[in-house]
């Protein structure tokens, strides 16, 4: 095992951008998991007297409220932490569902490539990609109660076609390789080939796409709640914090700015990780 750890450490040392991204993501995960226990104030408790307090670095800051308070005096730090929890929770789950749907569609259509099943599945993927996502999201979220689960379903609808396409092309490519022919010649059944042989190559083809996808999901989730069609209060999302702060923007700009910066940092970290993974797994580059 130590040999593998050494390998990982050397990888981290050689790719500083990946490491920075990883650290930020680990902090985010920590906040997301322990949000309710590390929150300084009760995110829903309003105290009108501390209303619209600026963050600690400017005058008139209320003690304890490091990043200030919103228009009914709720502490911003605690609301942002809870917002991170929702965003992380929703984006990871939605990308997870997207991978599962994408994998099944990609595998089936890749294996049955020249056949009709493949073209039907591909047309379905095209339809999904052709649909302007925001419109689809709004229609569905008005069709069904905008709960956390419905958000996850909507977000996974946005990203499964990308996975289906990536996996389909990998499966089509790999199907022609000699080691698959050798397995067939040995009498391996097609299910065994699909699961044991093709299955092992899914991770390296998904891993480079995942970070970018989670980043996309976080942006879209906060967007939906910003347009008040996604997560509804009392659930807290970075999007609806920003939406609340919007009409006080000229006086207390930080209510909108800070959640945006938080989303940006998380997404930036994910993009950095994604870039490095793409270079690492791209066969052409490290031949």
């Amino acid at each position: 095992m130590s040999e593998r750890i050494k390998k990982v450490l050397s990888f981290l040392r050689k790719n500083p951008s990946f490491t920075i991204g990883l650290i930020i993501i680990l902090i985010t995960l920590f906040i997301a998991i322990f949000a309710d226990s590390i929150v300084p104030f009760d995110p829903a408790a309003s105290s009108p007297k501390d209303r619209l307090a600026p963050p600690f670095w400017s005058s008139g800051a209320k003690p304890g409220h490091i990043l200030g308070t919103d228009y009914i005096g709720r502490d911003l730090v605690s609301r942002v932490f809870m917002g991170i929890r929702t965003s992380v929770f929703i984006s990871f789950l939605s990308v997870g569902t997207a991978i599962i749907i994408g994998m099944t569609v990609g595998l089936i259509s890749g294996l049955s490539h020249p056949g009709p099943i493949d073209s039907i599945l591909m047309r379905i993927t095209d339809i999904q990609m052709g649909f302007p996502f925001i419109v689809l999201a709004i229609i569905i979220l008005t069709l069904v109660e905008p709960t956390v689960t419905s958000c996850i379903v909507v977000l996974s609808l946005a990203s499964w076609p990308a996975y289906a396409r990536v996996l389909r092309s990998n499966v089509m490519l790999e199907k022609e390789m000699d080691y698959i022919a050798a397995a067939k010649a040995m009498g391996a059944s097609s299910t065994r080939i699909a699961i044991k042989y093709l299955g092992r190559n899914f991770l390296p083809s998904i891993l480079p796409v995942m970070p970018m996808d989670i980043a996309g999901a976080i942006i879209t989730e906060s967007l939906l709640s910003f347009m008040s069609i996604g997560i509804q209060p009392p659930n807290i999302s970075l999007g609806n914090i920003m939406a609340d702060g919007r009409n006080y923007i000229s006086t207390s700009w930080w209510i909108t700015a800070i959640p945006g910066v938080v989303v940006m940092i998380i997404v930036l970290a994910l993009n950095l990780m994604g870039d490095t993974l793409q270079k690492y797994f791209d066969p052409k580059l490290n031949k």
Binding site: P132, I138, T256, A257, G260
Partner: protein, 309 residues
Amino acid sequence: MLATITRRILQGLIVIIGITVITFVMLRLIPSDPSRTMAPNATEEQLMQLKEQMGIGDPIPTQFVKYVKNLMRGYMGYSYFQKADVSTVIAKALPMSSILLLFAIIIAVVFGLLLGITAAINSNTWIDRLISGFSVLFQSMPNYWVGIILIQIISVQLKLLPSTGYKGIRYSILPSIVLALPMTAVLIRNIRASMMDSINQNFVKAAKARGIPSWSSLIKYSFRNSLIPMLTLFGTQLGVLLGNCVVVEYVFGYPGIGMQILNAIVRRDYYLVQGLVALLSSFFIIVNMAIDIGYIYLDPRIRKAQGGL
């Protein structure tokens, strides 16, 4: 070769029809009833009469058949809340959105190419790291948040550009910049990657070995070779752009197609939503179809494989 083109067109049509049918059915499944929102305090049988008039009383399949018949005659249905034909509503909103999209595409393609190629030419220098750094940064910024911040800084405090509504070209500058930002970032990084990749192609090395000075062989040879990956990327990014267009119009209160769609869905204005969705999705699919067909003329190898040479 003709066969490949026709097959690709057929595929495109199937997808457009698919989207229209799905929107048609999904809209009708939305629980609340548009006639109630039209006339909130009408009695029951007044509502029935209104429904009949709006043509949403009978079962979904018959509505769909009627809709298709109208479509054949070029009539896209009536928008109840705008009190106008769907086509007129679209005709009013389309020019504004197209200006926004056109500006955004021009900005994204120009800066994408410019910065992408410069980053590729002097790769692994500080210029490259600067450009790549900024492009990752822009790509990570949520565009609606950038919109609000720019409105606050540029139009409210510095009063340089108007921020809401539309009373002239100046109104679409800020929204198109915000719309162009993420796409520019993606174009920069991908153009840089495909240029770097095509520089290592064998035929570019062979050109250099024939004495062609490196900068000219780089641009002339590599560019043509990275044209196809760029077009594919543009095709997929177009879908993202259309989606962001709706968002930017919401943030800026910009009266284009996006704004219309948002209000139409909330108000259950069936035929308007139907028309707008068909417009957006067919635009995206037709552009992608044109790009796929374009490959045949761009790359002689594909043309030969299709038996066209």
